[in-house]
């Protein structure tokens, strides 16, 4: 067991929220067509409220803190926020489009000890990238920000969300990442809007492209192993936890709402009304999330993919049942292995059959954002 696995196991045993994702704003200078947020400000937490929350998170044992948005640099106080987080000892990762990052910002992020900056790049072609962000010139500005970050010594990851419009550009972005000295993450995950609107799911890869993706050795590594039939389901798989959401990780909105995960918008409390620890330890909804084992899943418990599926409980929740299947993951398991999942055999596949997967090329492993 690696040190990181030991750390996660210990956090699970002690009930510690090891990782928190905080969106400090939903405002953004881009209008990406697949984004799951609206970009209005309905009363974001103030600097003081966020700094107070940081003290609560530190006391609760939070170690990994991801700051995101919206575009976090849209807040004038973002450096104040990052500086406070670092003074409190958090490992800070920043998700940004880098449009507003120039040399002074890059140097300060490095000086503050931010571990990693993750930046969305949709294509190496300006006309494709800018059409997705709906901000003319955005790729040029983003690349300039990345160069400044790299020059300052920052670790940078390019997150390449794949949709039909940019499906053919992954190799170009991968090459670009290499030229910039950045890591590369491929992500064909398109999630419903936070308010439940599923219209953006039209941007998910269709099965034919998902199939090409899963069978591309440059993207998934060992195709034969990756696409192998699922292993036999054992007792360990039946007793397994769906994912870390609500167990060792959670998400906080700019308005102080606490969810199990950014992809699992189940309201569990609000830090403006209760302390974070009160929510973390006593929320009935978090208790319900934590009570679920794989054997309790209504359809998935009898599925051949139970032990190897990347089922997202948040996406299942957004389809209406946190104990039900996540149709995107059902489809992914099917396309990947050719073995029909239980949801398809029961003819209960919901109406949005598209893929969901993130791949960290360095490890050729499947992962989901934030909490997996």
């Amino acid at each position: 067991m690696s040190l990181m696995q030991q750390l996660n196991q210990k956090a699970l045993e002690l009930g510690i929220p090891l990782s928190v994702h905080l969106d400090i704003t939903y405002r953004c200078n881009e209008r990406c067509e697949h984004c799951y947020l609206d970009h209005e400000d309905y009363g974001e937490m103030t600097t003081e409220e966020i700094c107070h929350l940081f003290r609560e998170l530190a006391a609760a044992g939070v170690f990994f803190l991801t700051l995101s948005g919206g575009e976090p640099l849209m807040r004038r106080d973002y450096f104040e926020i990052i500086e406070d987080a670092r003074e409190l000892g958090f490992n800070v990762k920043l998700k940004t489009n880098a449009v507003l990052i120039r040399e002074p910002e890059a140097r300060r992020l490095r000086a503050l000890g931010v571990e990693l900056v993750q930046i969305s790049v949709y294509s190496h072609l300006p006309e494709v990238h800018d059409a997705i962000t709906k901000l003319p010139g955005s790729l040029k500005r983003t690349l300039e920000g990345i160069r400044q970050l790299r020059a300052a010594g920052m670790k940078v990851t390019l997150a390449n969300v794949l949709m039909p419009a940019n499906f053919g550009d992954s190799a170009g972005v991968q090459t670009l990442a290499g030229e910039l000295g950045a890591h590369y993450t491929l992500d064909p995950t398109i999630t419903p809007m936070m308010d439940g609107d599923t219209s953006v799911l039209r941007l998910r890869l269709p099965p034919t492209q998902l199939d090409s993706f899963f069978h591309d050795g440059n993207l998934v590594g060992d195709v034969e192993a990756f696409c192998a039939p699922p292993p036999a389901v054992d007792e360990g798989a039946r007793e397994g936890l769906p994912c870390s959401a609500g167990h060792t990780a959670c998400y906080v909105t700019p308005y102080g709402d606490v969810y199990p995960c950014v992809q699992f918008p189940l309201p569990c409390g609000n830090v403006r009304k209760q302390s974070f620890m009160e929510i973390w330890q006593h929320s009935p909804r978090l208790a319900e999330v934590r009570s679920i084992r794989a054997r309790d899943l209504s359809v998935c418990s009898s599925c051949a993919h139970l032990g190897s599926c990347t089922r997202c409980p948040g996406l299942a929740y957004m389809e209406g049942n946190m104990r039900g299947p996540s149709s995107a993951d059902c489809e992914k398991s099917f396309v990947r292995t050719g073995v029909r999942p239980a949801s398809m055999m029961a003819r209960t596949a919901p109406a949005t059959p598209r893929g969901l997967v993130q791949i960290q090329l360095a490890e050729t492993a499947l992962a989901l954002p934030v909490s997996r």
């Binding site: 040190l3 990181m4 030991q6 750390l7 210990k10 956090a11 002690l14 510690i16 090891l18 530190a58 044992g61 939070v62 170690f63 670092r86 000892g89 958090f90 490992n91 800070v92 000086a111 503050l112 000890g113 931010v114 571990e115 990693l116 670790k155």
Partner: protein, 104 residues
Amino acid sequence: MSDKYIARSTQVASRKLGDEMVIMSAVDSTLFSLSEVATLIWQAADGKTPLSEIARRVSTEFEVAPDAAYRDAESFVDELASHGILRVSDQPILPSARGAWEAA
């Protein structure tokens, strides 16, 4: 014997989880887990407390012979310094000097 002074890097994250201290370097993302003794040394690494004083605290708190406590502390400090997450000097280390060291 000249004394040593040690200071934590500003490029690390740290958190006490139960009885252990977890540290991660922002430079290379290396994760460290410190024992109780190592945690005491880490928390005392403020750049102005001499290593001999830190070792004395270890000796008292964990009932270790003073010489052994100093040797262990020195070994631990050298190891963390080799990963760039702790600075060692024969002079007290001011906070401003830490920033200059890490920017270099």
